[in-house]
């Protein structure tokens, strides 16, 4: 091609390799083009074929997920999954990682993570109504870690609070495997009418392509390729590739976008996320089976002199690309003008099947679209079982605690098990007036205005389990999410995930990825939860140390009548406490061993998916009917932690009798929950449990201001609720401030 920009470098193999393409990928590109690529074409290709955009190392495994179901309208492949919830409403939701940018620049990295996921949701025509955040930090004593925690929390808060979307829940944990690579996974959910869903399928030859939102700057160039590389000590120097967020513009773009959609003049729409204008233009034309011709000279710029390469790859935030119905651009333009937004018509759709990029009329890229998007590389990377796995999975010695009460207090004082209120109080969790149960419980609950329904949201994964047995860990994450939803009476309708792993070119990492996905997929099939969207974040590796495999699950459930459901705390003195599920000694990867003795060993507890399904059915029944006033899932720290947590909201204690105390109080046997029911309704609850095939044992009674455990083996304790609460609620602020 003769017309490539004079100032741009000549492309050769060495330059292609430095852009992250492999030899084979470069050959493939030469084959598709039938000539050497221009510099802009190389940039476009390296972005589209980056791990982040192409899922080239994970796609073969992702196919194992069940992705369809009665309620599923759009599964993976769209900007967000869309699920029917009834009454003419659908929910659109997705979770995405912003790990690499957040480690380099925590405030902007986390903020723009929230911005990006919100756009993924409203680009579907859905008004965002809730966010969740799953955060994994290193040891608080590790270098920069307190700064990272503070920056990430402020970044999420300042962005979400300003746009006015409540952050209603999440998860935060700490482990040294994240010392050099924290994880920031942001989830958003929006509501749309059933007949008002938008997609990115760009159709209609001659239809104009409209750009609107912020101007384009040099920020974020190569963000997608950065997210596809491991970290080294030079990563600090990559700060210029982190994007900068502007939540006011996001809010204005959101309102203008929803208003523009109501005109009916928008054919297709997508935000400019990873790989910016490149991915939105190519993906939209690919989905619609069309081509495009755009002139990047028309793109509103923050400063003059950006090259076409930079304009195509910029990841400046708060930008949208829309296909308008020919002749109706004016309707959209008047909305953009009213909201004070930048906009420009940058090109038209063609039937050529080619992506043609011009700069002031001069061609800088001209590529067949389908081969670039559909023939993106796909790898089945070599896998290997880690050599130390057998040793890691050896059953651990379980020390007997000298003083079980002190052990409980020590666990409550760890950042992992302590209250996370310090974090979620910095997030607006009540704006939009839908929050029926906010952060801190098993699942957040939102009402759906104009219906009797509620939505329940939770995010779960235990990375320590995943490190010790990724398949079990993956299954456990799904099962725990189902259990959390069931506690508030919700039936799961869909799942989204963020699969955070290390470098997939390392066979042991690819093995973790494959196994975790298999475990998740199996649990999703048995528990009947479709995976409707998600994201994969690989290369979470710093100087050869990989993060624990962290397949974060976020699950959405529906409560038919939101006026009645059980809460996670004890509510009334005199209520009888029932333990649902089997109690056993399960200490593989248990918090008790890890947090008190530094032992991270053993196979994580087995996940009996059929039993989890029966438990969830029972919990939903007890919770929805108001039979149980309290329902609380047992997870990290087992029964001991669950009992303590249930005492806190109303400062209401309990007296419990158990056959065995001591370490057994902290066993992490799966498939268990606590419920509390009024004394006269105990027989009814026990009958329901029997009908459901769930073991149920009455273990005690709610009341008083102390938590008293009387154990048959003498391993009980007697603690004041106020003393436990003081330790639990102040641990995180004390560690951070």
């Amino acid at each position: 091609m003769s017309a490539s920009s004079k100032a741009e470098p000549r492309v050769d193999r060495a330059l292609a390799l430095s852009h992250g393409l492999s030899d084979e990928e470069y050959e493939n590109l030469l084959g598709i083009l039938g000539r050497d690529p221009t510099f802009t074409e190389l940039g476009i290709t390296s972005s589209l074929w980056s791990e982040h955009c192409s899922y080239k190392s994970s796609k073969v495994y992702l196919r194992e997920f069940p992705t369809t179901g009665e309620r599923v309208i759009h599964g993976p492949g769209e900007n967000a999954g869309v699920v029917d919830i009834g009454y003419g409403w659908v929910v659109a939701f997705k979770m995405e990682s912003h790990n690499h940018p957040s480690y380099i620049e925590p405030y902007q990295g986390a903020a723009t993570g929230v911005g990006g996921i919100l756009r993924d949701v409203f680009t579907m025509g859905a008004r965002p109504i809730a966010c969740l955040d799953a955060l994994r930090f290193g040891d608080l004593e590790a270098p920069r870690m307190k700064h990272l925690v503070d920056g990430v929390v402020r970044g999420i808060g300042d962005y979400g609070n300003c746009v006015g979307i409540p952050t209603v829940g999440g998860a935060t944990s700490f482990h040294s495997s994240y010392n050099g690579n924290i994880l920031v996974n942001a989830f958003a959910l929006g509501l749309a009418r059933h007949d008002h869903i938008f997609t990115n399928a760009a159709t209609g030859t001659g239809n104009p392509i409209l750009y609107f939102g912020s101007r384009t700057g040099r920020d974020g160039i190569h963000g997608a390729t950065m997210a596809s590389e491991s970290f080294d000590s030079e990563s600090e120097a990559k700060r210029p590739t982190v994007q900068v967020g502007d939540p006011l513009t996001e809010k204005v773009v959101l309102e203008a976008c929803l208003e523009a959609m109501r005109t009916g003049a928008i054919v297709a729409i997508q935000d400019m996320g990873a790989a910016g204008l490149t991915s939105s233009a190519f993906e939209m034309a690919s989905s619609g089976g069309t081509g495009f011709r755009i002139d990047v000279g028309q793109v509103p710029l923050r400063e003059p002199g950006l090259s076409p390469y930079e304009i195509m790859l910029s990841e400046s935030q708060e930008r949208m690309l829309a296909i308008a119905e020919q002749g109706r651009e004016g309707e959209l333009v008047s909305i953009f003008q009213r909201w004070g937004l930048e906009y420009a018509t940058i090109g038209t759709l063609t039937e050529s099947g080619r992506g043609v990029v011009l700069l002031h009329g001069e061609t800088v890229a001209d590529m067949a679209i389908q081969p670039l998007t559909d023939q993106a590389p796909l790898y089945t990377r070599p896998v290997a079982v880690p050599a130390n796995l057998a040793r890691l999975q050896e059953a651990p010695e379980v020390p007997v605690p000298e003083n079980p009460g002190q052990a409980l207090l020590d666990l409550l004082a760890t950042p992992d098990l302590a209250s996370k209120e310090w974090i979620w109080r910095q997030y607006d969790h009540t704006v939009r007036t839908n929050t029926v149960a906010g952060p801190g419980g098993d699942a957040a609950v939102l009402r759906v205005k104009g219906t009797p329904m509620g939505l329940a949201l939770t995010t779960d994964v235990n990375p320590v389990y995943c490190a010790l047995d990724p398949r079990r860990g993956g299954a456990q994450a799904v099962a725990e999410a189902v259990r959390n939803l069931a506690c508030v009476g919700a039936e799961p309708v869909g799942l989204t995930d963020c699969l955070n792993f290390g470098n997939p070119e390392v066979p042991e990492i690819s093995w973790q990825l494959r196994e975790a996905i298999r475990g998740m997929a199996e649990a999703c099939r048995v528990l009947d939860v479709p995976v409707v969207s998600g994201n994969v974040s690989l290369y979470n590796t710093t100087e050869d140390r990989s993060v624990h495999p962290t397949p974060t699950v976020a699950m959405v459930g529906v409560i038919p009548e939101v006026a009645t459901f059980a809460r996670s705390a004890f509510a009334a003195a005199g209520d009888r406490i029932l333990l649902l599920g089997n109690d056993a000694a399960d200490f593989g990867g248990a918090a008790y061993l890890r947090l008190l003795y530094g032992i991270e060993q053993g196979r994580p507890p087995a996940v009996d998916l059929a039993a989890e399904g029966r438990l969830a059915t029972l919990l939903r029944y007890l919770s929805r009917g108001g039979l149980a006033r309290t329902a609380h899932d047992l997870s990290e720290g087992g029964l001991g932690i669950a009992l303590a947590e249930a005492c806190f909201d109303h400062h209401l204690g309990a007296r419990v009798q158990l056959p065995a105390g001591g370490a057994r109080l902290f066993s992490e046997t799966q498939g268990r929950a606590l419920v509390a029911v009024a004394p006269d309704r105990v027989p009814e609850a026990l009958e329901a449990a029997e009908r459901s095939g769930v073991p149920a044992t009455e273990i005690g009674e709610v009341g008083g201001d102390r938590l008293v455990v009387e154990a048959g083996d003498g391993g009980g304790f007697d603690l004041a609720v106020a003393a436990m609460h003081e330790i639990w609620s102040t641990a995180l602020p004390r560690a951070l401030e």
């Binding site: 609070n161 746009v163 006015g164 006011l248 809010k251 607006d428 009540t430 704006v431 029926v436 006026a563």
Partner: protein
């Protein structure tokens, strides 16, 4: 009663207050655009919470200069009711319709939590649904909610009984700036004030977020209910 909820770029509690006025209190409600002075005959004007213009210069500073505020000022001068919630309170101060300034919260962080308020005035159109001394539980959600003024002006506000709500604890006792229950660190624990005439109220907490039992708290409903119930009655003479 015709109510107008002003929409600035960055308002984000506009839908919330609209919802309560329209669907809980069954009033006639319309959104008013920041770029237009005309208040469309609304009798109650609500400046909702949010981050008008991103709060990029100073909370409420840019919004105070919008065309709609000229209309709001005339409405207030004529004795019409104006309610500013959170960012709306900040805008009222920046517009000079209310005294004071709102600084960063004591902990320099965004605070989203339930607080307790003591009702100091029960004779205003906004507060007739309460009794003086009532203790309300009500959410705050702000980073800049720390009310400050000069000692002389604070004394004057007190003398003229223009402090409408004060932060307190569950017992309703009087607390000072340093008390933990005063999460913003506001001078004299002030959470909401009125103008001399008693027809303009600004407060940091969000009554619209606690106006329905389904959300677990309806302590804020009497504020909005009495405000719309009082629309149209002559106010001003008694309090000026």
């Amino acid at each position: 009663m015709k109510c107008g909820v002003v929409v600035f770029p960055g308002s984000n509690c506009d839908h919330d207050v609209y919802h309560v006025l329209k669907h809980v209190l069954e009033q006639e409600v319309t959104f008013l655009w920041h770029g237009e002075e005309d208040l469309q005959g609304c009798e109650l004007i609500v400046l909702p919470g949010g981050f008008s213009y991103g709060d990029y210069l100073r909370s409420g500073a840019i919004a105070a200069l919008s065309p709609v505020m000229a209309g709001v000022r005339r409405h207030a001068e004529a004795g019409g009711l104006v309610l500013g919630i959170c960012n709306g309170f900040q805008i009222l101060m920046e517009s000079g319709l209310l005294k004071g300034a709102l600084l960063k919260n004591r902990r320099m962080r965004f605070e989203c939590r339930d607080v307790h308020l003591r009702v100091e005035r029960d004779d205003l159109p906004f507060t007739r649904g309460y009794r003086r001394g009532d203790v309300l539980r009500i959410p705050v959600a702000n980073a800049d909610g720390n009310f400050q003024e000069t000692p002389a002006t604070l004394d004057a506000l007190e003398a003229e009984e223009r402090v409408v709500f004060r932060y307190t604890d569950a017992t309703g006792r009087r607390i000072d700036e340093a008390d933990a229950a005063n999460v913003t660190g506001s001078a004299r624990a002030i959470a909401g004030i009125t103008n001399r005439r008693g027809n303009v109220l600004g407060l940091m907490p969000h009554p619209e977020r606690c106006a329905e039992e389904l959300l677990g708290n309806a302590d804020g409903l009497p504020l909005l209910a009495s405000t719309v119930g009082a629309v149209g009655t002559l106010v001003g003479a008694a309090a000026s």
